[in-house]
């Protein structure tokens, strides 16, 4: 085991980023065109980074497996984006946003990164507004804010329930401008299959053209992964169907450490699943908790009744009862676990008794249906389309669903992984949210990394390489990687087994959800660690992938991704087993207070667990980055 150095700059917390920006080496404007940068992924992080690199004058190659960069899953983020503007004079500040984020992450995040995130949050709002992002406004023409879980100030900027869409389109349009100006070469329907490393340094990537099946190499001076999270390891999640971990996992296999894989966020407000054919879970924005009240019947006998027939006295508004000061706005992990508790007690509602109520009756009475429709209209419509029930007339049914992964590739303060020249940004890295991410902070981090952090730090890496040529793509390091990628696909095509890729993915998802979901314990995790390799062996010998690799073939795309989820799932369980404490999204049943709250062990576990690939997925090696808290005191989170 080694101890990792975050390379956070010295000095006072509030000065670190300013001073570091001055200390970093610069690439002069005329020299930027001598560098090639690869950006994989076009979500908020990838699109904003690629656009900014292009504006600065670098040569950028950008890749997405979608048919257009605009379809990345950032587009589905609903609720909003935080910033410490304090436009409403309710006591917000950069320090408070930093403090809420580090506390919300249950003190398992890195202080310096989190502070920087809060610090640049205001620039993001300015940038987005200048791009024409239509944020909600008040009648005076100024920007409106709403409040979100885990905060007692109103700092969330929003564009109805489609904030992610509007911010992504802003970044996509900035990217489109660079594509038009030929600073960015865009590769659509092209999936990264592997990272190429030469002499320990990232040299480029190998991709597959999803329409022709062509395997191709691309080299560059630096590679940026902005490929999102891995919630689809659970199969059913709020992520889009194609979200996958292949890029980060392949980078991990080539030497990038994977940090805190067990920190997964189960979002409290998704629509419960309705049958076995369910392909994904649909999120209902957390912003609904501003006006909705969460409850279940007090008596299990009432769960089958129509909600309106259950009198107030027979309802348990359990979050308001247990957490009077935060009420329905407790952080996501707390809200999710409490929902599971009441459903496990047999108090769940709906046809499958797998949900809790999110009730707007009071808010509609207080504010009128029009106001509620203006705030959440599109979410209410979406709910009705999916469930066939009208949430203006009866409460929504909600239940937690895998949604976001705080873990990811380990990066230092400059967002560089343990492989020099390989950077990871947005959800793909681990750095800013600790063990739990607060609402409206994912958009903030994606854009912070892409617009305002990496464009500075990448220069520090590139400057000394002036004059170096990228490794040619006929170098053995590329050729061998291409051959391995082709062999991998051909191997799966040759199995000709009996079960579809989706079947295996679903089975893996069940194991992950049952044993590495909202609550974990040693017995379950050990069981998962024996079941996953067994299922993997079955997958290798019995998967059925039909058709050819030389055409559009979605089964070929999926088989690679699911193979990587097997190994990542195993690592998630290993990490969860290693972490003998409860923190944020990681709740070990063995470690809880008498009241059932998460019990951290700061003495032994105030570190980032960064895993190193050894060639055997079952024998990953643990490295640690000690977390030092100079500015905040570690307390037990209390939202009571």
């Amino acid at each position: 085991m080694s101890i990792l150095d975050s390379r956070s700059p010295e000095g006072a917390l509030a000065q670190k980023w300013t001073e570091h920006k001055f200390d970093m080496k610069l690439v002069n404007p005329a020299n930027k065109r001598k560098y090639e940068i690869i950006v994989v992924g076009t979500g908020l992080a990838g699109a904003s980074a690629a656009a900014t690199f292009g504006e600065l004058g670098y040569n950028v190659k950008c890749f997405t497996f979608h048919d257009s960069p605009r379809r990345a899953h950032s587009i589905a983020a609903q609720g909003g984006i935080n910033a410490a503007k304090n436009y409403h004079g309710d006591g917000d500040s950069v320090y408070r946003l930093f403090y809420d984020t580090i506390k919300g992450g249950d003190y398992r995040g890195r202080e310096s990164n989190t502070y920087r995130l809060a610090e640049v949050s205001n620039n993001i709002i300015d940038q987005a507004v200048a791009q024409g992002v239509p944020f909600a406004r008040e009648y005076g023409g100024l920007l409106d804010n709403r409040s979100f879980g885990g905060a007692q100030v109103s700092r969330t900027f929003y564009a109805r329930g489609q904030t992610g869409q509007q911010l992504l389109l802003g970044a996509y349009q900035a990217l489109a401008r660079q594509i038009h100006d030929n600073t960015v070469e865009m590769h659509i329907r092209t999936e990264m299959l592997d990272l190429v490393v030469k002499d320990g340094v990232a040299a480029g990537i190998v991709t597959r053209d999803l329409l022709t099946g062509e395997i191709r190499s691309h080299s560059a001076h630096a590679v940026v992964l902005a490929t999102g999270g891995y919630s689809n390891a659970y199969y059913l999640s709020t992520n889009a169907m194609a979200c996958n971990a292949t890029a980060v996992w392949r980078a991990h296999r080539k030497g990038a450490f994977f940090a805190n894989p067990c920190y997964t966020q189960i979002h409290p407000t998704a629509i419960p699943s309705s049958d076995e054919f369910q392909s994904k879970l649909t999120l209902m924005s957390e912003s609904l908790r501003n006006d909705g009240r969460i409850w279940v019947p007090k008596n299990a006998d009432d769960t089958g009744k129509v909600a309106a027939e259950i009198p107030e006295s027979d309802r348990d508004y359990y979050l308001e009862r247990k957490y009077p000061s935060f009420g329905n706005l407790v952080p996501r992990d707390v809200a999710s676990r409490n929902a599971k508790t009441v459903v496990d007690q047999g108090l769940g509602v709906g046809p499958l008794n797998n949900g809790v109520y999110l009730d707007f009756a009071d808010a509609i009475e207080r504010l009128g249906q029009d106001k509620i429709a203006e705030r959440y209209g599109n979410l209410f419509d979406m709910y009705e389309r999916i469930t066939g029930e009208n949430p203006y007339q009866q409460p929504m049914r909600i239940f937690p669903a895998p949604h976001y992964t705080m873990g990811g590739l380990w990066v230092d303060y400059e967002l560089q992984t343990t492989i020099p020249g390989l950077f990871a940004i947005g959800e793909a890295n681990f750095s800013d949210h600790g063990a739990n991410r607060l609402g409206a902070s994912a958009l903030m981090q994606g854009l912070s990394d892409g617009y305002f952090v990496l464009p500075y730090t990448i220069g520090n890496y590139l400057a000394p390489k002036l004059g170096d040529q990228p490794v040619p793509v006929d170098d053995p390091s590329f050729v061998d990687t291409e051959i391995a990628a082709k062999e991998n696909i051909n191997r799966y095509l040759a199995v000709k087994g009996t079960r579809s890729v989706d079947w295996f993915h679903r089975e893996l998802g069940k194991i992950m959800w049952d044993y590495c979901g909202m609550e974990r314990n040693r017995t379950g995790l050990e069981k998962a660690l024996s079941e996953i390799p067994a299922l993997r062996a079955e997958f290798e010998s019995d998967v059925r992938v039909l058709g050819s690799a030389h055409t559009l073939n979605q089964s070929v795309e999926k088989v690679n991704r699911v193979a990587d989820f097997f190994e990542l799932g195993q690592l998630m369980c290993q990490d969860a087993l290693m972490r003998e404490e409860s923190c944020g999204g990681h709740f070990r049943e063995e470690h809880q207070t008498a009241e059932g709250e998460a019990l951290r062990d700061d003495e032994n576990f105030a570190f980032v667990g960064a895993w190193e690939y050894t060639g055997d997925p079952a024998a990953a090696k643990l490295n640690k980055e000690d977390l030092e808290f100079d500015d905040v005191e570690l307390t037990t989170r209390s939202y009571k």
């Binding site: 024409g132 944020f135 594509i179």
Partner: protein, 248 residues
Amino acid sequence: MKLTLNVWRQESPDSGGRFETYKLNDVSEDMSFLEMLDVLNQQLIEDNNEPVQFDHDCREGICGSCGLMINGQAHGPQASTATCQLHMRQYADGDTITIEPWRASGFPVIKDLVVNRSAFDRIIEAGGYISVPTGSASDANLTPVKKEVADEAFDAAACIGCGACVAACPNGAAQLFTSAKVSQLNMLPQGQPEKSARTRDMVDTMEAYFGSCTNIGECTAACPKDISLDHIARMNRDYLKAQFSKRS
């Protein structure tokens, strides 16, 4: 419920296509339309037949990936609903459903139900942005925007780029898509400096790929996000004005 599906199958852009008929015996009304296609694909794989290729991703009506002609209607029978949000409770036991890709010369078929919509990206690249390099923005509240304007800009910006407007149009025109972006940006104070050039360049690019608008209105009827025809009127007005302004 039991369903009969007539699904368009096409090997490649250049090969001819044909309808194949498939039977499904156990479709639940709670399934989404795409989950019903998942079941079909599962059945095809079990029978050693290649599954039907179709674009889809978020399955919550926002990414714009999915888009099918269902019984001749873009995104099917439910108003304001993308294919992925359509649920099988809209259908009855014994129904026959015909499923085709978008049909438009601007959207060539790639395979089965998948089409090439890259022309939309070309239109945005031509000018669908406000040129504001990262870091050059002033404080966000420095430029107040009337709430009504911000709301209307949002209505236009809600476009998901699915292409239903083009598929529904007898002329295969892309006015609704193009005007949604032109209108959003031209309406806002931030979008004024580039207004003329933007309108001209986006419209000219659009016309290189797509048909002409004859004000039929099928586009807005098919639009899952209810983008209004008003935006087309605004774009036409701005385009005309741009003809009289100097090229910038």
